[in-house]
């Protein structure tokens, strides 16, 4: 640990965390290596692929473009926390039943991004869903099934039957 390490205190998935981190450590590396929250994945490390998407103070961010030291005092939520709280249970179930994932490496980031869109309410068009996901890379599915799953959840949340 470098002598320039900083002390930070933050809330991660509702738990209060105090840690000493090097300034160069990214948020996603901090979550994965220091807190063993391995559900957030590292894909490109330069903000293109979206595999490291997490929620900070209510907004989704790239865990590879934010440093851990910037999260002092922040509230961070990851796929582990959102899974346990049940907030995204319907999205997870739709992804499972529609096979909207294959290898599953993009899926935590994809689901957090989908939830970010659906939180605004309404039933977005397929084109709008595609646009919202345009920063999340999936090599396996070709996206069609992901759009199907998100669209179905939007309709269900709006009270329409599937």
């Amino acid at each position: 640990m470098s002598e320039h390490a900083h002390d930070i205190a933050l809330t991660v998935n509702g738990e209060r965390v105090a840690a000493r981190v090097e300034p160069r450590k990214t948020l996603v590396d901090f979550l994965r290596e220091d807190l063993a929250l391995t559900g957030s994945h590292v894909g490109c490390e330069h903000g293109v692929c979206g595999a490291c998407t997490v929620r900070v103070n209510g907004a989704i961010v790239r865990g590879c473009l934010m440093l851990a030291v910037q999260c002092d005092g922040a509230t961070v939520e990851t796929i582990e926390g959102l899974s346990d709280s049940g907030e995204i249970a319907d999205l997870q179930d739709a992804f499972r039943r529609r096979n909207a994932l294959q290898c599953g490496y993009c899926t935590p980031g994809m689901i957090l991004t989908a939830q970010d869109l659906l939180q605004h309410g309404g039933i977005p068009s397929r084109a709008a869903i595609r646009t919202h996901l345009s920063g999340n890379y999936c090599r396996c599915t070709g996206y069609h099934a992901i759009i199907d799953a998100i669209e179905a959840v939007a309709r269900a949340r709006a009270g329409e039957s599937r």
């Binding site: 391995t38 559900g39 994945h41 330069h46 096979n99 345009s134 396996c140 070709g142 996206y143 799953a149």
Partner: protein
């Protein structure tokens, strides 16, 4: 949206009571992944684990004069700095050749370069440290003196006498050459009313798996055992190779493969840096982890395609195709990749060109030359996208030349559906294909006539839309003819072990692996059906060489067709074993009993006789109550390998509908269709998703993906900002349809489906672009990827 278990069950001929064959059952292993609870190799942490980072050559070709490691050795957290010469004491080099690819040659490749680096990105030194960050700090402290050597980077001149030879011991830069001349090619071209020629180019591209390659090697000095956690498609193959090159027994090596973040052929090869990581663990007697970062992925994950194919087709006025001829040139890396070689893609192209058509005249030459660029090898649909785009590009150019509809020329030349068994001009043997039925299905599904009318209307308004097709054939379920006969220890057979536990549930241990395709689901469906239990009572175990039968893994679309069949046979065998015991317990003839929904029943009436739980209780805990001489065997293993046919060929046809903006050169994909025939469909949803994912990978090749090298062998766009991949916003919805021609080589009749999408999409998109631009007199586009600047050039606008 269609949700899997809302669908009514469609039961096939393989139906038994509570059959899962032909049903879209959700994958049993998927819930952990949607919760972020998967276990990828990048997640693995072991006690005393160290991290390795590699010093990589900045030159495409250079002599290594001196490596100064002192400063790095003193850096904080650094455990060891190891050069190629030091690692050579632990691990032997390898040579990527196969004896059945006659004349294919390559040079010995070490895990870390020793005297010479042969491509930009080749590892020249390893730094092992407590953390990856400290290892990278150490890398920055290593100083290497290089003497740059000429970089061989143009395949067209690689064989010129004036061009330096990369490996002088090989004599020249030719890795492999194959020629073929079948029928009366010259006469057939002479008889043609039109001969259409074109040069097709395919940009070098790569897999871009979202999880980069990752490995944790753990040599236990006390046990003399190596445990390797690896994101691989072929654990048993890797077990063999680790043992062979460390000089230990296979029994001393366990390869564990849990979740793999994408593979597509990228993770089925031997990578020097992964071999080095294993050797470092043995050297340092502790676990060592290597996870490629994205920049490393671009310069070390195998690249593929990079072919230039000069091609021509002869056609008569009535549409009859008289001959095909191709000349393929491909520039691989400085080494043929081990153990599958870098000659297979060119070989496949020679095999597959013209494959859907009843045309007996075919001449081909393919040459594979060494280059000072990253290595090339097998990536999803190996050779198929190239062979299909060349064949289908020629067919549509020929149709345009003679003024015939592109579907009509196919109807007149595709091998007739009642002509099977049949053989292609190149000698491929087809058991049963369905080109015409697939074409008719596609025609109806896409409303071809309606789209043509729409296209015509919009052209009048200056909107240029195009419709393009690609018929294709696909190699699946490979027998030993693919690799085994060439001397590679790559298993074409696969095994499954089915065990009944003490609560009457079953586990299936299979040699095939899961990288997201749904192999575990398919194996569970098959085993549940064959044995007779609800799928919830089946647990599938994959990816562990200590605990699964020997097998090849998952590649070349073999998991369902080969691994599925092994699971079927093992499930049937265990059912027979269980019924033998049940017969003894119930004083009934085993043939009068059956297992349905986990209960032993009278076969004729379905009356329940005995639960599996009760049977297992008696067998395991009160065997004393069984009649004397009855010994239950509640474990069954069966293996399977295709024998009647070297490959189970599948077929299909794709269509692309798109719009070209003639001012900007941008292509908007409107819709894509694929009808394919993979024989018996075990899980329709999984098959469709294989197709859709494959189509989008093919679209990437057609429109975006290109590893751009300069003349010095420097990769110019090795990151995800500059190398474009298909993202959600640009991709179309993809509609799938099916024809089913089961193979008689297995009970299930399933063929593979993993390559079909990628095989056909680039050709279909190319043809659609050319269809859109044809009324504008544009020169046909045949140079993938079709970027806006190439389209504007074809239109003469820039």
């Amino acid at each position: 949206m269609k949700i899997a278990d809302d669908e009514p069950p469609i039961l096939s001929a393989l139906d038994r009571p509570n059959s899962y064959i032909g049903r879209s059952v959700p994958r049993p292993n998927i819930t952990r992944l949607v919760q972020g609870r998967g276990q990828f190799v990048s997640d693995v942490v072991l006690p005393r684990m160290a991290h390795v980072a590699y010093v990589r050559s900045p030159h495409a070709h250079a002599r290594i004069l001196k490596i100064r490691t002192e400063a790095a050795r003193r850096a904080a957290g650094v455990i060891a700095v190891v050069t190629g010469a030091e690692l050579a004491a632990v691990m032997t080099p390898w040579v990527g050749v196969l004896t059945h690819l006659k004349g294919l040659k390559s040079a010995p490749q070490p895990p870390i370069a020793i005297d010479r680096a042969c491509w930009q990105g080749e590892a020249v030194c390893a730094v092992v440290a407590r953390t990856r960050a400290e290892a990278e700090d150490g890398v920055a402290q290593v100083e290497v003196d290089y003497e740059p050597l000429p970089a061989i980077t143009d395949p067209e001149t690689a064989l010129d006498p004036a061009t330096p030879v990369i490996h002088p011991s090989l004599g020249d830069n030719l890795c492999f050459e194959r020629t073929l001349d079948v029928g009366r090619v010259d006469a057939a071209f002479a008889e043609a009313d039109a001969v259409v020629e074109a040069t097709f180019r395919f940009g070098r591209h790569t897999g871009v798996t979202l999880e980069p390659r990752a490995i944790v090697a753990d040599w236990n000095e006390g046990e003399q055992k190596l445990t390797v956690y690896q994101g691989t498609q072929a654990p048993h193959m890797m077990q063999n190779l680790f043992a062979k090159h460390l000089g230990i027994a296979e029994q001393q090596v366990r390869v564990l493969t849990k979740d793999v973040g994408g593979s597509f052929g990228i993770k089925v090869h031997t990578y020097a840096d992964e071999m080095a990581t294993v050797a470092l663990s043995k050297l340092l007697k502790r676990p060592v982890k290597f996870v490629a970062d994205r920049v490393e992925s671009f310069v070390t994950d195998i690249h593929a395609r990079d072919h230039r194919v000069k091609a021509r087709i002869g056609v008569k006025k009535d549409g009859t195709i008289t001959a095909f001829e191709i000349d393929d040139l491909t520039g691989i890396g400085p080494y043929s990749v081990y153990p599958r070689t870098s000659g297979i893609e060119a070989n496949q192209i020679v095999n597959l060109v013209g494959g859907p058509y009843a045309c007996a005249n075919y001449r081909a030459r393919a040459r594979v030359v060494f280059q000072n660029k990253n290595v090339m090898c097998q990536y999803r649909a190996v050779g198929h996208p190239i062979a299909t785009a060349v064949t289908e590009g020629l067919v549509e150019l020929a149709a345009a030349r003679i003024g015939m509809d592109p579907l009509e020329i196919r109807r007149r030349n595709l091998i007739a559906d009642d002509a099977y068994p049949a053989q292609s001009a190149s000698g491929l043997k087809f058991e049963k294909l369905s080109h015409h039925q697939a074409l008719a299905h596609l025609d109806a599904m896409m409303n071809y006539a309606g789209l043509r009318a729409e296209q015509k209307r919009l052209r009048e308004r200056g909107i240029y839309r195009g419709i393009g097709f690609a018929s294709f054939i696909e190699v699946t379920n490979p027998s030993a003819a693919f690799y085994g006969v060439g001397g590679a220890r790559i298993s074409s057979q696969d095994g499954a072990t089915v065990k009944l536990d003490a609560q009457g549930n079953i586990s299936v241990h299979t040699g095939v692996t899961e990288q997201g395709q749904g192999a575990e689901a398919v194996v569970a469906q098959v085993a549940a059906t064959a044995f007779g239990v609800p799928i919830e009572r089946v647990r599938v175990i994959t990816g562990d060489t200590d605990n699964t039968p020997y097998g090849g893994g998952t590649w070349a679309s073999r998991a369902a067709g080969i691994g599925g069949e092994a699971a079927w046979r093992a499930g049937v065998a265990l059912r027979a074993n269980v019924l033998a015991v049940a017969g003894a317990m119930l004083q009934a003839r085993p043939e009068d009993l059956d297992i349905r929904s986990g209960i032993v029943v009278d076969r004729a009436t379905g009356n329940e006789r005995l639960s599996l739980e009760e049977l297992a209780r008696v067998v395991y805990f009160r065997p004393d109550t069984l009649p004397s001489g009855v010994q239950a065997e509640l474990v069954a293993t069966r293996h399977y390998v295709p024998r009647a046919w070297p490959f189970a060929f599948t077929n299909g046809v794709q269509a692309s509908y798109l719009e070209v903006d003639i001012e900007t050169g941008f292509v908007t994909l409107l819709k894509h269709w694929c009808v394919e025939d993979c024989g018996t469909v075990i899980n329709p949803q999984l098959v469709d998703e294989q197709i859709r994912g494959g189509v989008v990978q093919g679209i990437g090749a057609a429109l975006f993906e290109h590893c751009l090298y300069d003349e010095r062998g420097q990769l110019l766009n090795g990151n995800m900002a500059d190398y474009l991949v298909p993202m959600a916003a640009e991709m179309p919805d993809i509609e799938c349809g099916h024809v089913a021609s089961p193979t008689a080589d297995s009970t299930l009749g399933a063929k593979g489906a993993g390559e079909a999408g990628t095989a056909g999409a680039p050709g279909a998109v190319m043809n659609a672009i050319n269809d859109a631009l044809r009324p504008l007199g544009a020169k046909p586009l045949t140079d993938m990827p079709f970027t806006p600047d190439k389209i504007l050039r074809a239109l003469g606008k820039v």
